[in-house]
């Protein structure tokens, strides 16, 4: 398509008494071939040749051809960009407040955002971090900035406004340092601001919330467990699953989450040892405090997760379903064990029912073989307590009897 030249004029309105004059002729004859000889140079010349030689001077055909060409090129570039070039790091926007970060406050900065890896976060690979860092350095290196922005003149005095120019570069270097060190990266990932935000958003559910707001169980809990799964040492982590999950799956899920082995730690929030004092006691005191604080946080975190799993278990519709099935099976068995009642049934029916009951019993037996850790845990506990009480009572009775 021809480039449209936009003219900065506004043409006045047509006079009301305008009458179109009579058109006379076609345009005058052009200069003959060879009167003008093009210099064989430039993109426009190439386009002109292609128009003349490949498209018989037809602008529409040429437009269509260049459009397909551009598409093909775009695809090619996209394919290149995605596969090997930058591992899909791409370019992210850099809002003002990100660029205004203070390198002294590096502990508080979002290292992934600084390197433009917000969309990957804890999943960013080493290669991606490397490429992202290189891109940012190319863009923000102080050597590149020195000449780029002119100094502002205030009150006639030439004040260099760019003294703080390399601050973002320092942030980039710090982010790179943190993210390339496995230990530091885990520490940062443990308290990743984006994670904390997400946690606040979705993990704060309570049982009453559920009752009042009528939340959907799966929609609520699936993202919560997905969120926490990043901290598991054992990967992959079983997901919450669907309503039609088998008993084994459901039990496997709870088994995993009750025994969740997390690498999350809270060193990142340690208070720094006061630099001013070289007193060993001060240092030890701070260290001790940090250690206890870390332990406290870790404990809190574990408790929180535990609470979540408890809540999840108490609300899980599948548990109810499973219990119901079991109950039904038991009742069916019971019904099968009490003959006489379905006396009116024909023999064939009787046989059929019997067979069904048998099947169910078998199934139940099989199911019961699978360890039902938590379902029976409470029951077992209660039973044990009862047994102990009974034993105590018996013992007391025996004593009393002996005394009497």
């Amino acid at each position: 398509m021809a480039t449209v030249q936009i003219l900065p004029v506004t043409v006045p309105a047509l006079p009301t008494d305008y009458a179109p004059p009579v058109a006379s002729s076609s345009i005058s004859a052009p200069h003959p071939l060879g009167h003008r000889v093009l210099l064989p140079v430039g993109q426009a010349h190439l386009n002109h040749l292609r128009l003349a030689l490949h498209h018989a001077h037809d602008f529409d055909a040429f437009d269509a051809h260049t459009a397909t060409e551009r598409e093909a090129k775009k695809k090619l570039l996209a394919a290149e960009g995605a596969s090997e070039d930058d591992h899909g790091v791409g370019d992210e926007e850099e809002p003002e407040d990100l660029l205004a970060l203070d390198p002294k406050e590096w502990k508080k900065q979002d290292h992934y955002a600084v390197l433009g890896l917000s969309k990957f976060r804890y999943q960013a690979t080493a290669a991606q971090i490397k490429i992202a860092h290189r891109k940012k350095v190319l863009k923000h290196h102080p050597d590149k900035k020195a000449s780029g922005t002119p100094n502002e003149t205030i009150l006639g005095i030439n004040i260099n406004q760019n003294t703080n120019d390399d601050s973002f570069f320092k942030c980039i270097q710090k982010a790179h340092e943190v993210l390339t060190n496995a230990e530091k990266r885990r520490q940062f990932d443990s308290v990743d601001p984006a994670f904390l935000e997400a946690e606040e958003d979705i993990a704060g559910v309570t049982a009453s919330d559920f009752k009042n707001k009528k939340l959907d169980f799966f929609k609520t809990f699936t993202p919560i467990f997905e969120l926490y799964s990043r901290f598991s040492r054992a990967q992959p982590v079983p997901g919450l699953g669907k309503l039609d999950a088998t008993k084994a799956e459901v039990e496997g899920f709870y088994d995993f989450w009750y025994n969740f082995d997390s690498w999350r730690s809270f060193e990142w929030w340690d208070k720094e040892v006061n630099e001013g004092s070289d007193s060993r006691d001060d240092k030890r005191y701070t260290e001790k405090k940090n250690k206890s604080e870390r332990a406290r946080r870790k404990k809190e975190d574990t408790a929180k997760l535990r609470g979540l799993v408890d809540l999840c278990l108490s609300l899980d519709p599948r548990i109810k379903l499973i219990k119901q099935h079991e109950k039904e099976a038991r009742e069916a068995k019971k019904a099968a064990a009490q003959p006489g009642k379905p006396a009116k049934k024909t023999k064939a029916q009787e046989e059929e029912e019997k067979k069904k009951a048998e099947d169910e019993a078998k199934k139940k037996e099989e199911e019961e073989k699978v360890p039902t850790v938590f379902l029976d845990a409470k029951k077992a506990k209660a039973a044990a307590a009862n047994a102990a009480k009974k034993a105590r009572r018996e013992a007391r009775a025996a004593e009393e009897a002996a005394a009497a």
Binding site: L7, A13, S24, P30, L39, P40, V41, H54
Partner: protein
Amino acid sequence: MSNTKTPPNGSATPSEDTSKNNLPPIVGINFGNSFASIAVFTKEGVAECIANEDGERQIAAAISFSGEEIYYGNQATQQLVKNSSNTIVGFRNLLGKKFSEISQSEQPKSAPVIQHPEIADEPAYKVEILQPAPTPLPTSTHTSNLNTPAASHAATPRSEPTPATRILTVSEVTSLFLGSLLTSASDFLGKPIAGAVITVPPSFSATQKSALIAAAENAGVKVLQLLDEAAAVAAVATREDWGLEGADREVLVVDLGASSLSLSLLSLRDGLAHILASSNTPTPTSNEIDDVLIKFFAADFTKKTKIPLLVATQAEQSVADKRAEARLRLAIEHTKRTISASSGPATVSVESLKDGVDYTGAINRMRFDLLARPIYSSVVTAVTSLLSSVELDAHAVHEIVYVGGSASLPGLDEALVLGAVFAEDVATPFARGVVVGGGVGDPTTVLARGAAVQGALVASVPADDEAYAAIRGAYSHAHDGEQVSSANEVIATSKTLGILLPGPEAEEGAALGGTWIQVVAKDTPLPARRAVRFDVAVAANAKAVAVEVWEVSESIRVEKVVVPAAPAEDDEDEEEPEEEEIKHRVVHKDSLLGVVQLTSAVAIQAKGNWTTTLEVVFVVDANSQLKVQVQEIGEGGAQGVLKTGA
């Protein structure tokens, strides 16, 4: 090729343009008679003039043989002082010429051109070199039975190199020099150079062009295209980063070289360029500027030290004078650059100029312009005669582009714009402020960049696709001989086409009956397509718009005004309010081609006025039939079509 599926319109499958990431290693070489420059595409995807190993962007076209060493570029010019007989300069213009064609009148300041001792009528250079002695034979392991001392195991030292003479043809010298340029470029890019585009002066004959191609092939590079200097300018001037792209304009290219002045008048039509007129005169040259400058400094030296110094004359000089002149000539390169860059005084300092006396002098821009005034005025004369040869008024020229180191002088620009009476708003690189700091208009790098840009373009044309054979022919034929590829011959419109929107006169004194908008300028190669978009006011009740399509002729009306009454603006393009003369670009309506009448459907009201935006597309096809489409911008806008001819 036969089994490749081609679209019905006969074109090949879409080619992949040069993308940013995988630009071909193509070098653009501006090969001047005294200086050369090289440009490549950098990683950022821009053509940039690069420096050689010595950090020089302006590489002197010189080779010097000193003992076993060969020096190229600016190192070689240093040898002109003490080793002038073994230093070769100015060889480009001799390329492809016969010995009998070369005038021997000038007193040589470097290695003289001689008749080749073996090849008939072939110019050559004779240089004294030191030939490295042959490597001695290794010590024999076989020892004789004779009772002789045991042979040393140390390698026999090489004997002293032996003096020898070497005869070099002009072609060999060119190959050596181009080879050094290519080494610089491939060192910069980190990969071998795949092809080169080399600029040639308009004075080059077909044999000289063939000789240049042969010399480049010997240097180990494939020549993709030879570019006229004017074409190299067109290559950069039609690019987006030039800042004036797309617009239809006439461009004057001024190349003040060391050996000649070449002027070209280009007509750019939406990126398509053709030469309206060109001239190439042996004078004035930048060497003349050098001469006056050297004379000035020599006189200053004599005044300060009372040592007589005879420079830049045809008279017989002493050896000391010759050396002093060579030293000064090298030193003023820097002085000229300083004058170009700043208006403050520029210094020249030469150690031991003559008789062991050092010289330091200074010259400011005003003084320099005064000295160079005669050269400037002869440039102005040449420009004026070129313009008059095609009966073009200086006011019709929209842009001036300077080429070459000496054309970086702001004084030349000033003298030319005032002297040849260009319009005040003529776009020169100095007025646009794109000369200093390696801007797009830097005269020293324009040609090399143009060649690099064109190189990338030629390299993007599929090399083994038959559908593109004719296009490749358009590039290669142009330098094969006198005849040009027929693909480059075009038919062009003879008159300007545009639209007139009836209404009150847009300018005072015009008699058009409305607002004139030029769409297709005259001399536009066909087929052509242009689109313009503008706002138009409409009456609140009728909302009628009429677009008259006219063919017009333009002229410059000169108005003699005794008192500068400062009449209102003429055509926005060109005007020159002077004390005595006022030039107007005027348009004469020749014939009406048709009227398109619309009723606006999507006009919007702002501040009580109804306006709408129209887009007018002109298509003039190869049979010179015009089709005009008028489209109101917006959803459901009104539209109208006008076609002329059978």
